[in-house]
Symmetry: C2
Subunit: 208 residues, 2 copies
């Protein structure tokens, strides 16, 4: 039954995958600091369009690396992003992955105010710490709220990975982030996702 | 700053998203039981290629619905799939989302045997219950091992969502599943993901 299956040691699967991705990208070259991020996103999606749509502000990767090495927390908008982040490596630097989506007070407050839980999670994160790394993989409402908090001076992220996915205010939320004056990594257009957000954070962790 | 942002109530965001997806799909029509699955996967990825690559065996959705309504557990290969499954709705029917990736015994056993943790999680799940719904969103090694367990008669899943993503044995693992003689939903080719696996399970839960 296992005809056609190649026996690959677990520790080699990722290396082999990156070799295949590099081959498939052919002559394309990326800035050295972007290369691993782009390839890890392709690794997690098998979607080569990300080679074209990831947009990284000048110095954003460096800012994220410095922040994570200094023990910054990573705030996410979903438990899926939280699950995907390599918390062992993050914790080695002293940082934690933080997500407030299961917070009961936030859930009831969101219902009362007819806003999303994800947006209120950003308020809570900004109260905890003005500086953090943010990984927004799903909810444009979270990214919009974070941009408001930045413009009000209540948050000053060291990096925002802004890759919400979808059809309502997604493109607009990324445009807001590009104008927010903080280091960013976004996926242009509608694509993105919690898996993409986690992959970008992990790529930066593994560069450290 | 919020110019261009449309104010949409949280409860309307998903409905609006599905309307936009349906508009963008134009004249395309899918079998009624497949329609919600395809659209929810597009909703979670913004990747319309999934309209072409999702392959659903005859009666698979019905088998999954019956299983979940009867309280079947959903076994996943990653914590990200686990995080993405709507456990509130699943629990209403009596089922649980199950993932053994954090099990310390499995981790040490996998290291000793030079196999992936994900593949050993399938052995463990089959020991727990011969019948379950499986959601494999990341590891082809898990899907390959599950197909072995099926061929040995040790597992007889009521539905396998087989959407691992990537470059090593991914396409081959899906081919194995198609020949395994159990109800399946796969994504043809390299694409897939933990987000896709969770979206498919949720689509079926919401039909229930």
């Amino acid at each position: 039954m296992l005809e056609g299956i190649e026996r690959v040691s677990p520790s080699d699967i990722e290396r082999r995958s990156f070799e295949i991705i590099s081959q498939m990208l052919g002559d394309r070259r990326f800035p050295p600091m972007h290369d691993n991020i782009i390839k890890r996103v392709i690794h997690t999606t098998a979607d080569f369009e990300f080679a074209d749509i990831l947009s990284i502000s000048a110095g954003a990767v460096e800012s994220g690396m410095d922040a994570l090495r200094a023990g910054s927390n990573v705030v996410s908008d979903t438990k899926m992003v939280w699950s995907g982040i390599n918390k062992r490596v993050l914790g080695r630097y002293g940082g934690e992955a933080v997500c407030y989506m299961d917070d009961a007070a936030i859930a009831s407050d969101a219902a009362a105010r007819d806003v999303t839980r994800a947006s209120l999670c950003m308020d809570r994160a900004a109260e905890d710490s003005r500086n953090a790394v943010y990984a927004i993989g799903n909810a444009p409402t979270a990214l919009i709220r974070l941009c408001e908090l930045i413009s009000e001076g209540r948050a000053k992220p060291l990096l925002v990975v802004g890759v919400p996915v979808g059809f309502v205010n997604v493109v607009e939320s990324k445009q807001l982030l590009k104008n927010a004056g903080v280091p960013y990594i976004i996926s242009e257009g509608r694509k993105g996702g919690s898996n993409v957000a986690a992959a970008i954070i992990n790529a930066i962790l593994y560069m450290g």
